[in-house]
């Protein structure tokens, strides 16, 4: 959200401009700054101030989100409209209420949610200072597995989380009927991770959208962990699980595939019968 700050002098201004969460936020700020009544906004003044802000942002070479420009156009249109005498307005608008009210309503609604967001932020600030107890289970199992390692069950729980997100992606309409084998996925994993390289457990599955693919990849991962080609580790309880390719493999990749035998070559369908 806050851009990189190169010039120390402009720091304050940059932070201020970056602090607006959108054009409505900027408008509310200007209305407050100009001490206007939101139900009785002076469009001309507001538009002028708004455009001045955009100019300043441009001078500072800040990327201006498209929404800010759309709002500028809306303001200019509303302003131009107020200059027209009633009889010169497009006939369909004469009967209708002033379109400026649409903007005002939007601002009022937005302001309510912005205030609610502020209150939520205060609650968050308070509650982020309260610490609960973390499950002892995690410490106990990491003691069992040696420092930094993860138990089989921790892995399975993590895997369950991945499956849930895959389900969500699948529900969002991305399906795949491709078939995968454990052997293929062992190759994929060894390809993906160079010796010593590590990756976030969840990231391994991020691009996958079928349950079958995720399950087969997970089985391939377990197999490689068993063969000590991969190590699962965790910096501490509740920290993310990392999968690391071992530096000095006990068995080489070819052996890994061979040793899994038929199981590895067995295609696993996305939806088995």
């Amino acid at each position: 959200m806050i851009p990189m700050l190169e010039t120390p002098g402009s720091e304050a201004l940059r932070v201020e401009l970056a602090a607006f969460t959108g054009p409505l936020d900027l408008l509310l700020h200007l209305i407050k700054e100009q001490e206007m009544d939101i139900y009785d906004i002076r469009l001309e003044k507001l538009t002028e101030q708004y455009l001045a802000r955009l100019d300043k942002m441009r001078e500072e070479n800040l990327a201006i989100a498209g929404e800010f420009l759309v709002m500028a156009a809306t303001l200019l249109y509303l302003k131009s409209r107020t200059l027209l005498p009633v009889q010169d307005r497009p006939p369909e608008e004469v009967e209708e209420e002033d379109p400026k009210w649409e903007l005002i309503r939007q601002l009022i609604e937005y302001r309510k949610f912005k205030e609610a967001a502020g209150q939520l932020g205060e609650r968050e600030a308070l509650h982020s200072r309260i610490f609960g107890r973390v499950p002892e289970r995690v410490t106990a199992s990491s003691a069992l597995m040696g420092p930094g390692q993860v138990s089989m069950f921790d892995l399975v729980w993590a895997f369950q989380k991945v499956l849930r997100s895959v389900e969500e992606r699948a529900r969002a309409g991305r399906f795949s009927d491709e078939q995968f084998t454990v052997g293929q996925k062992i190759e994929f994993l060894l390809d993906r991770l160079q010796p010593g390289e590590e990756i976030l457990f969840e990231d391994l599955f991020r691009s996958m959208s079928s349950r079958g693919e995720v399950v087969v990849t997970f089985l391939a991962m377990l197999e490689l962990i068993r063969l000590r080609q991969l190590v699962a580790k965790q910096d501490g309880p509740l920290r993310p699980i990392l999968i690391q390719r071992a530096l000095d493999p006990v068995v080489n990749a070819e052996d890994a595939v061979l040793e899994t035998g038929e199981g590895a070559g067995q295609p696993v369908a996305d939806s088995p019968v």
Binding site: M1, T21, A65, R105, Q106, L120, I130, R133, E168
Partner: protein
């Protein structure tokens, strides 16, 4: 009251908020292979919790009601100390845009992305993804509206993150639930990705 000690042990050991009704049920059932107190009611548990809360206050711990249950935590004024412990994770706070998106969803769930964007006036796909990833919101289904857009709602973790008892505990919830929202097709609506 002999079960008060059991109650404190249960609350202490729990790693998630405990509902008084569930605590009362555990106390009635008894431990594995043992006898409980069949007469304990939810209200007894609630009464005892009040007393526990007072006992904890001078001890650097607090009992708070959150996400439909009770949970022991460290006193907020001691956060600077607790944060120094190894392995203690402080969940990162949300950015202002994420908080705004969060607020709209909290009050108006289930809600589609387009509807959130109509209120905020900016593209919200980035903040929505962040919130889903953090487990604070989730996809709850699809709308019947044209295009059957995905709908979002809050998770129990949302309540925990913000220290809320339940959704009724949201500030000004009545008013904000009723406010008429701008239509998603609003011409002043969002088009581009927010920075």
């Amino acid at each position: 009251m002999e079960w008060a000690r059991v109650l404190e042990a249960l609350l202490f050991a729990a790693t998630e908020p405990m509902e008084p009704g569930r605590l009362a049920a555990i106390l009635r059932e008894g431990p594995e292979g043992g006898q409980g107190w069949p007469e304990v009611k939810e209200q007894d548990v609630r009464d005892e919790m009040l007393q526990l809360s007072e006992r904890l206050a001078p001890r650097g711990l607090i009992l708070r009601e959150v996400a439909g249950g009770f949970r022991i935590g460290t006193a907020p004024d001691l956060s600077g100390w607790v944060a120094k412990l190894k392995g203690v994770v402080r969940p990162p706070r949300l950015s202002p845009p994420a908080l705004e998106t969060m607020a709209v969803i909290a009050y108006r769930q289930p809600i589609s992305r387009a509807e959130v964007e109509a209120v905020r006036g900016v593209d919200c796909s980035g903040t929505l993804d962040t919130l889903v990833e953090r487990g604070i919101i989730r996809i709850t289904g699809r709308s019947e509206a044209p295009g059957r857009p995905i709908l979002y709602g809050t998770t129990p973790l949302f309540l925990e993150h913000f220290g809320l008892k339940d959704l009724e505990d949201l500030p000004n919830s009545e008013e904000l639930r009723r406010v008429k929202l701008p239509a998603p097709a609003d011409p002043a609506g969002p088009k581009q990705e927010e920075s």
